[in-house]
């Protein structure tokens, strides 16, 4: 097998297409120039015309579009409703927790600044918010509108209403007023550091929960790309001579397996590269038939 390790990768990928002697890049790794080309094309937008300018011109929305939720997030009545209900619910939880675990004033200067209700509410809200937001960025199997409403209602409304910074600051200043300087410092630091740890754990957990299913979806997508619709009988599909060359079927297979590998490389699922030779005998996940 020829190794492409010197010179311009773009030119070499062209030779890989046209020259018949080279092996197809079936098990493409990240060093493969073909994969890199595909990755570049897939990941980098290429604006042309006016959009390619440093500051693309922005066209103001038409007055009739300005009041539609599709074009203006501030005109979305459903989001207002969802955020309001979430905020009510979050405030109810926080106030209920505060009534349930009231702050008992102590004379101990270190413990003076530790109101348990605010701390617990902040930590739970931070965790839920981190979990939800990382889950919702990955969960492409939920409809986009549903994802938007859930993350607005539960994330912004409920978690935002449940957690509070202003109450924390008031407690800080009350503790400082009463002379609990160390308690104030310790409470603030503990809240922020534990909060960051909890948020990190929450976002990690959200990614773990979605990992399996999003990998499955990526494979299904790749399969669908490979088993794309065949032309009807009698229809002649013109082949590009520059890409396909003289041996039409062979090169098409090469191209498809290479694009599959590139897709697998760009989705970053963490799985090993699929063995493209065996994919055609796997059942189609959509229809269940084996091709």
């Amino acid at each position: 097998m020829h190794t492409y390790d010197d010179g311009d990768p773009r030119g070499q990928s062209l030779t890989a297409h046209t020259e018949p002697d080279h092996e197809p890049a079936a098990n493409a790794d990240s060093d493969n120039p073909l994969t890199r080309d595909f990755e570049q094309e897939l990941l980098r937008p290429h604006p042309t015309g006016a959009a390619a300018a440093r500051k693309p011109p922005s066209v103001p929305l038409a007055p009739l579009k300005r009041v539609q939720a599709r074009f203006n997030p501030l005109a979305d009545v459903m989001v207002y409703l969802v955020v309001f209900i979430g905020g009510c619910f979050g405030t109810a939880l926080r106030y209920g927790l505060w009534l349930w675990l009231p702050y008992r004033g102590t004379t101990n200067h270190l413990l003076m600044a530790f109101p348990p209700a605010t701390f617990i509410a902040n930590m739970i809200a931070t965790f839920v918010f981190a979990l939800l937001s990382s889950y919702m960025t990955q969960a492409i199997w939920i409809r986009k509108r549903a994802r938007q409403l859930i993350s607005r209602g539960v994330g912004m409304g409920m978690c935002g209403g449940f957690s509070t910074l202003s109450a924390m600051m008031i407690e800080d200043i009350t503790a400082m007023h009463n002379g609990g300087y160390w308690g104030f410092f310790l409470y603030t630091m503990v809240t922020f550091i534990v909060g960051i740890a909890v948020a990190w754990f929450g976002s990690w957990l959200g990614l773990q929960l979605t990992k399996k299913r999003s990998a499955k979806q990526a494979v299904a997508e790749a399969l669908r790309m490979q088993t794309r619709a065949k032309p009807a009988i009698g229809v002649r599909v013109p082949t590009d001579p520059e890409v396909a060359g003289a041996h039409t079927t062979d090169s098409n297979d090469e191209l498809q397996s290479a694009s599959l590998a590139a897709l697998a490389a760009t989705t970053h699922t963490g799985d090993p590269d699929p063995d493209t030779d065996e994919i055609p005998v796997v059942a189609d996940p959509m229809t269940g038939e084996v091709k």
């Binding site: 997030p73 501030l74 989001v79 207002y80 955020v83 309001f84 209900i85 979430g86 905020g87 009510c88 619910f89 979050g90 405030t91 109810a92 926080r94 106030y95 505060w98 902040n122 809200a125 931070t126 839920v128 918010f129 981190a130 937001s133 607005r152 912004m156 409304g157 978690c159 935002g160 209403g161 449940f162 957690s163 509070t164 910074l165 202003s166 109450a167 924390m168 600051m169 008031i170 800080d172 200043i173 009350t174 603030t188 809240t191 922020f192 909060g195 960051i196 909890v198 948020a199 990190w200 976002s203």
Partner: protein, 124 residues
């Protein structure tokens, strides 16, 4: 019970106010620094300082204080979003920005509570 529900409704209004302010700021702010959450927290802290001073000097009664601070400002200010923005900045290797945001979120709202307290107790 009616008192409880009214406080909850105030929290809902606070959350809606945050949504409106957040969306309006994010529309014109394209930089890395999460300005919208920061402005929201600073504003909430300032108002909380004013309210705390007003309650301490008995300008307003306890119920009004609860309605405003526990209800509206509790729903308006947010700790969870701020911390999650710090974490996502740190995760995308913007460590300096994350540390700066952490420091600023710690110091400026606290300063704002003091300023608010000073404003609220001015006439004494």
């Amino acid at each position: 019970m009616g008192q409880f529900l009214l406080i909850c409704a105030c929290g809902g209004v606070g959350a809606v106010a945050r949504f409106v302010l957040n969306t309006s700021i994010q529309r014109s702010w394209r930089k890395l620094f999460p300005l919208s959450t920061f402005i929201i927290n600073v504003l909430a802290s300032l108002l909380a300082g004013v309210a705390a001073a007003a309650y301490t000097y008995q300008t307003v009664n306890y119920y009004t204080y609860l309605l405003f601070v526990t209800g509206f400002l509790g729903g308006f200010s947010t700790f969870s979003t701020a911390v999650n923005e710090m974490v996502s900045l740190a995760k995308s290797k913007k460590l300096v920005m994350a540390a700066f945001y952490f420091l600023v979120t710690l110091v400026i709202p606290f300063g704002m509570v003091i300023v608010g307290w000073w404003i609220g107790s001015m006439g004494r």
